[in-house]
């Protein structure tokens, strides 16, 4: 009984720790500042840049993640252990270092070629997308792989014996079975992308109306000691993320495979 109480207390302490942090934001909440912020073009720009960059970065990550995760879940291949390690790269390396690596890459001949002929990422919207994409790609693939790992191979095997080719099996069995888990992974990837700060500010800076995202706007407001303004942006970012996380929870609530 004591152990049970202890572990439940630990779980509740998490709620208390984060609850206090969120509650402290409300201590500085001011409706006048809210009204002022809501009429500020800069805030709308930051919301739009954050949402659109996170959406594009998530889309790009998902396009690579789904087939990559399927390969990692189902097949053995020579570079699999190396790929597996690199999925953790964004987690073991600081976001600022990841951003710096992106900048360093664009100083190499290949990076220069891309900058001159395709796109320039430094202090640009594309830089935000790239920074977020690089940050979430590993996590997205890891989550997608967990989804495929959870689907028993026996369904794919039986589909093959019923006449389905590899691709028919993937599209008619694996993907439909993974649908819910994948949707949840997409939402979490998007939430991670929209909250990305370190790599984004390193690559794209925080230029108002151009490359300022919600997290970088929080940093700028705080650096100007505007606590009330900071709180408003935090609450907006928090609301967007909570909505997406609740959505993910709802999607995950029912499992479609046993």
């Amino acid at each position: 009984m004591k152990v049970k109480q202890l572990v439940i207390s630990s779980a509740i302490s998490i709620l208390i720790i984060y609850g206090i942090l969120i509650a402290s934001a409300f201590y500085f909440f001011n409706s006048t500042t809210l009204r002022e912020s809501l009429s500020d073009k800069r805030l709308y720009s930051a919301v739009w840049i954050s949402v659109s960059a996170a959406s594009i970065a998530t889309l790009l990550a998902v396009i690579i993640s789904i087939p990559a995760a399927y390969a990692l879940s189902r097949y053995s291949f020579r570079l699999k252990p190396a790929v597996d390690i690199f999925l953790e790269l964004p987690m073991i390396i600081s976001p600022a270092a990841l951003g710096a690596l992106i900048l360093i890459f664009f100083q190499t001949p290949l990076g220069n070629f891309i900058r001159e002929n395709c796109m320039d990422v430094v202090y640009a919207f594309s830089g935000i997308v790239l920074a977020q994409f690089i940050t979430v790609l590993g996590i997205s693939t890891r989550m997608m792989k967990a989804v495929f790992d959870e689907i028993p191979v026996r369904y794919e095997n039986i589909a093959r014996t019923l006449g389905a080719t590899h691709s028919q099996t993937f599209f008619k069995v694996s993907l439909p079975l993974a649908r819910k888990g994948m949707l949840s992974a997409v939402v979490l990837t998007w939430a991670k992308a929209i909250g990305e700060f370190g790599a984004t500010i390193t690559v794209a800076g925080s230029m108002a109306l151009k490359t300022e995202t919600l997290p970088t706007a929080i940093f700028m407001k705080l650096s100007m000691a505007d606590i009330k303004g900071t709180v408003i942006i935090i609450l907006i970012l928090f609301s967007i993320s909570v909505i997406m996380l609740v959505l993910a929870r709802l999607i995950l609530r029912t499992k479609i495979y046993d």
Partner: protein
Amino acid sequence: MIELKNITIEAGKFLLDEVSLTVENGKFHVLLGPTGSGKTILLETIAGLVKPSSGSITINAVDAASLPPEQRGLSYLPQDYALFPHKNVYENIAFGLTLKKNFSPGEINNKISELSWLLNISHLLNRNVHHLSGGEQQRVALARALVLDNSMLILDEPTSSLNETMQEEFCLLLKDLQKRFNLTVLMTTHHKDSAFMLADRLHFIESGKLFLSIDTSKLNHTPLPLKVAELIGITNVLKLKRSPENASVYHSTELNADFQFSEYLHENSEEFELGIKPVDIRVIKEEEKHLNHINRFHAIVEQIIFKESNALVFLKNPVSGFMLKMELSSYNLRKMNIVNGDILLCKIKEEYVRKVY
């Protein structure tokens, strides 16, 4: 016809060792073996889901080694049925047909209606597969396999999760379907009763080795490897040696008794081993003791274990201490008033015993 030649599969510590097997067209073949003997992996190899380390597989005279599962023309019923959880019963059955371009929705509908009527699952077609009982799931999975009109059906332990009554019903259904569609069937099981009920030909497998393939009709008079004998319930094995005084008499030191058996059993060998099922040992009744019974021996009742309507009696030879198992009906046990410590005069029924090696 499916022909396996020297199929070897290494899966971790498990080794399926040079298995050769022929499944003749139109016959019901049963692969009988205990759990973990390699039955499932062998079926998966035939279905194309597992690649053997060596050996060859031909299906209808075509080398199947490089054929993917979808081109093997086999219907496969896995042990856990693997019904697609994202599809209802109708969609599950229709899955294979919808992949083929030559079936219109109307034709698919007709085929499913016909088969579901035959398998008594018409009322389940719109159900979610999660809401089916084990037996219903099995019939749906069977319909999904049969609807493709393949002439070959392979089934992995289809009776393992069924109770005795359901096992019997399912076996009758399978036998009927096999005749109706002229199917070539290979089924795995560890239930000897299901195996004997269905098989035209039996294949015995244990620890990755195929010990014997034999027509069921020939099983009664064929010497059996010891492992095969155990699989079909022969738990008593006696060593018999020809008597120096009488060439037609064999002596058992273990039972301290003499026996006379037909020539097909001993084949005039100097010594041989005799396999006896517990049900083939009988107690000689008091009123029959004066008759000239052959193949008698004395034994002490060591322990009695009651099963459903039968009792398993552990017998011990008073001289050698050799143990035997005898099975008789609980009714007879009570009628003869047999209790622990009794000394019984028993008889072996010659017609069912067989030579083992």
